[in-house]
Structure formats: C-alpha cells, structure tokens
Symmetry: D2
C-alpha cells in the first residue's frame, strides 16, 4: 500500500469514485447515518476489523445512529491511498450483508 501524500489532483480523482465522501478540515470525511444504534455499532465493528487488518485507523465519533468519520495519514500529514482504501471498505460494509 502506497503511503505517499496524494496531490490535490489525485484526491479529486479518487473522490470521484466514491459516494458522499468529501474533504473537510484537510481530511477525508463522511457522515454515515443508520436508523438504529444497533446498525451503527455493527457497522463500526465491521470497520474495526478492517482497520486492524490494514493497520490504519479512523478518527470517528458516534451518536446513536450516526457515525462521523475523518480519515488522514498522520505520518505524512496528508491523505494517502490508505485513506481511500479504508473509505472504500467502509462503503462496502455499510451496504452489506
């Protein structure tokens, strides 16, 4: 996995392939909304397993059915392929099973 800081152009290109992700506070951001806390936390559990697998972790907060996610790669102080990888996995988990 490439962890070099992406250029603005790369970021735009990658964003165009995702749903509802945006750049906010220089981080990759999305607010996931579920109907229940149960659904929100089951989603978070699926994501947590991916995070440990790829050794990359989000800044995220939860209030009832909402899960607010910010992704960035601290060691390069920017957004990398790793962030887009995690974003994509989160979208898959949010839709499954």
């Amino acid at each position: 996995m490439d962890v070099k800081k992406l250029t603005e152009e790369d970021i735009k290109l990658n964003l165009s392939k995702l749903n509802d992700w945006e750049i906010k506070d220089k981080k990759l951001h999305k607010l996931f909304k579920f109907k229940t806390f149960n659904q929100a936390f089951s989603f978070m559990t699926g994501v947590a397993m991916v995070c440990e697998k790829i050794n990359h972790h989000p800044e995220w907060s939860n209030v009832y059915g909402n899960v607010d996610v910010y992704l960035t790669t601290h060691r390069v102080a920017g957004i990398t392929e790793l962030d887009f990888k995690l974003a994509q996995e989160m979208d898959v988990i949010a839709r499954s099973p």
Copy 2:
C-alpha cells in the same frame, strides 16, 4: 415477554412465520451463512446487543462465514416466545442495513 413453554402446535405456527428456522435437538435452530468472517462477526455483534437488551442468549458457534444458532429457554426446558422473538430479531439483523 411470555416465558411459558410453547406447545408443539404453537411452535409450528410460529415457525411458519419465520424463514429457514427448524426444530433440531428440541431447540430452535438456524444456520446463517455469510461470505466473509467480517460479515458473520458484524452480524453476531448486532445480535449480541439484542441479547443483552432482552436478556436472552443463544447457543451459537462460528466458523469463518457460518453462524450456527440454537435457541431454547433453559428455565422452562423448552421453547418459548422469547426464543421466537430472538429468532425474528436475528433475521432482521442478517438482512440489514
């Protein structure tokens, strides 16, 4: 929640309203199959929260994407409404979000 032991007739009626549940070893049984361990364990997490909420817990085993569930109510040595309640909730969680 009524915890009186259901009659065979009640059990048949309740089973007819569920998908793919059966009686096995005198317990309410279903094998849930998911494609990945991630999906199986996210499902189990959703179920675990329901179990604590209704204070009723399954006998269940997991191997990779499979979750094998047996439900019974020990204090009446039989199947009760509580088991069907949990079975129904499991089906909802398996289909969501």
Copy 3:
C-alpha cells in the same frame, strides 16, 4: 431508573463516587485511554451492549487507543441518574475482565 434532571448538588455528590469523570460542556465527560485500538474497541463493544440494555447512549469518539465520552440525557436537557449509571458501568467494563 429516575430520569429527572439532577441538581448541581446531586451531580457533585455522584461525581465524588466516580473516578476521573468531570463536567464538561454541561455533560458528564471522561477520556478513556487504552494502549491499543484493539483494547479501545473491545471496551466500546462491552459498553455498546450496556447501552442497548438500558436504552441510553453516549456521544463518543475514538482515535486509536482513546475513547472520549460525553453523557447527557437529551429529553431533560441535563444530566440524570441514567448518565451516572452508564458512567459507572463504563468504569467497570474498562477494568474487566
């Protein structure tokens, strides 16, 4: 569970029985610190099950080993016994098993 808004005096008394909780932004607040994401998220899972059981949920955020928790009871726009109940359960879970 009593959900009447607690007086400042009640809050002080309850706070004195807990470890490291404080009032911040008019909410009951504590920052839990774990060494690993694995520990932090396992803790969150234990808490999530309690939340569904008592039907009371936190505002919480997680970054790696840190879990930052704010508790309040929206329907009374203040802090109640329910918040202290959840705070206490969180402390128990953070220390176990």
Copy 4:
C-alpha cells in the same frame, strides 16, 4: 508466519508455554470462562480483530459466559505456528485491559 504442520514434539513444547490449552480432537483447544455474556462477547470482539489481522480464524462456540475454542490450520490438516500465535493472542486479550 510458518504454516508447516508441527510435529508432536513441537506441539508439546509450544503447549508448555501456554496456560490451559490442550489437544482435543487433534485441535488446539481451550474453554474460556467469563462471569457475564458481556465479558465473553467483548473478548470475542478483541479476538475477531486479531483473526482478521493475521487471517486465521477459530472454530468457536459461545453459551453465555463460556467461549469454547478449537484451533487448527485446514490447509495443512494439522496444527501450525499460526494456531499457537492465535492462542497466545487470545490469552493476552482474556487478561486485558
């Protein structure tokens, strides 16, 4: 991680370094006992994250506070270093935080 099938001698040596694990049905076996379902399932969540990280998964069942674990490596039809690695991680998680 070495995934060659271990000899009986290797297995004995590795077993001597672990607590309460044994060979049962030709698999590495341990029964973890917790006081509550909450503790058992929080433990399972911690383990699930490790499983995804190392891409190795148990055969395990849960009834309330009990988590019964069998480890084996299917592709070599035997016990490998990977099983002992997971066993060791489970022991660490069972004791933490």
